[in-house]
Amino acid sequence: MNDKKENSIEDIILDPELSEQLKNLVLERVSIMPDTLRMSVGSDELTKNDVLKHVKEGDDIGNQIMEMELGFLRDLASGAVYSYE
């Protein structure tokens, strides 16, 4: 039996070691996005470099990006992405 309990996204963000691993993963994944990437977040307009900076700094925007990325990866791995009708 597999007793491993999946950490919540919040647990991962709050755990220094796991958060660092996630941050590195997100940085790598964002780095391969197009250089033309532009995102509006609140009043700010972010370039790809701005996004990378927010993730590195681990601020509110950076954390939200990491949470979104982790949620996506989990749902991709579990197949939930394709099961929603």
Partner: protein, 201 residues
């Protein structure tokens, strides 16, 4: 309370300009269905006009476009127009804004609103720099804003808030599946914009 919709759509910065333009289809849809539209556009999106229209017309649907935070929703030039003491009695509210779902939404319900649909986190919207003068042609922005518009268009078609939320999410999933398929454009595929996907859940 007869069916009517109040829309706030300031246009003082890039993202509010996008919201302004993309909201036009909602205004047009409401008019096509003979639903009274109170359109607080541009500089009219201010506290005085908002309170006046709310108190006189009591719209059944309130579609808020603008910037926000946990306790404040703003209009033109980021001036506050709704706070936790505001009363939007019996209205179904959809706030296309950052973070108002954290706390303000709950307060508005407590103050008599019927339903609140909004976001607890920041609202991300991708866009194409070359299209900022033609927002309706911006397919990347459309990936975010079409599902968002679907919340309101579903309400205008006499569906309830739960259905509006579910249809919007469903469109997001559909968009995402298309983005990772062979029918996606190169930009869509490269970007995936998976964050689009997770903005709405």
């Amino acid at each position: 309370m007869s069916k009517s919709i109040l829309v706030t759509r300031p246009d003082h910065d890039l993202i509010t300009k996008y919201f302004y333009i993309w909201s036009q289809e909602i205004v047009d849809l409401a008019k096509s269905k003979n639903i009274e539209v109170y359109d607080l556009k541009g500089k009219k999106s201010n506290e005085k006009e908002f309170i006046s229209y709310m108190s006189i017309h009591c719209p059944s649907i309130v579609f808020l476009n603008g910037h926000g935070s946990a306790n404040i929703f703003t209009g033109y030039d980021n001036q506050p127009i709704i706070d936790s003491d505001s009363i939007l009695k019996d209205a179904i509210i959809y706030a296309r804004s950052c973070e108002v779902g954290q706390n303000l939404g709950f307060k508005l319900i407590k103050n008599g609103a019927k339903t609140f649909i909004g976001y607890k986190r920041k609202f991300f919207c991708g866009y194409t720099p070359e299209k900022i003068t033609k927002p309706l042609e911006d397919n990347i922005a459309g990936l975010f804003l079409k599902p968002s518009n679907l919340v309101v268009s579903t309400l205008l078609k006499n569906n309830n808030a739960e259905e509006a939320h579910n249809r919007s999410r469903g469109q997001m999933y559909k968009n995402f599946r298309r983005m990772v398929s062979s029918t996606a454009t190169f930009e869509e595929w490269r970007t995936h914009f998976r964050w689009v996907f997770y903005l709405f859940i």
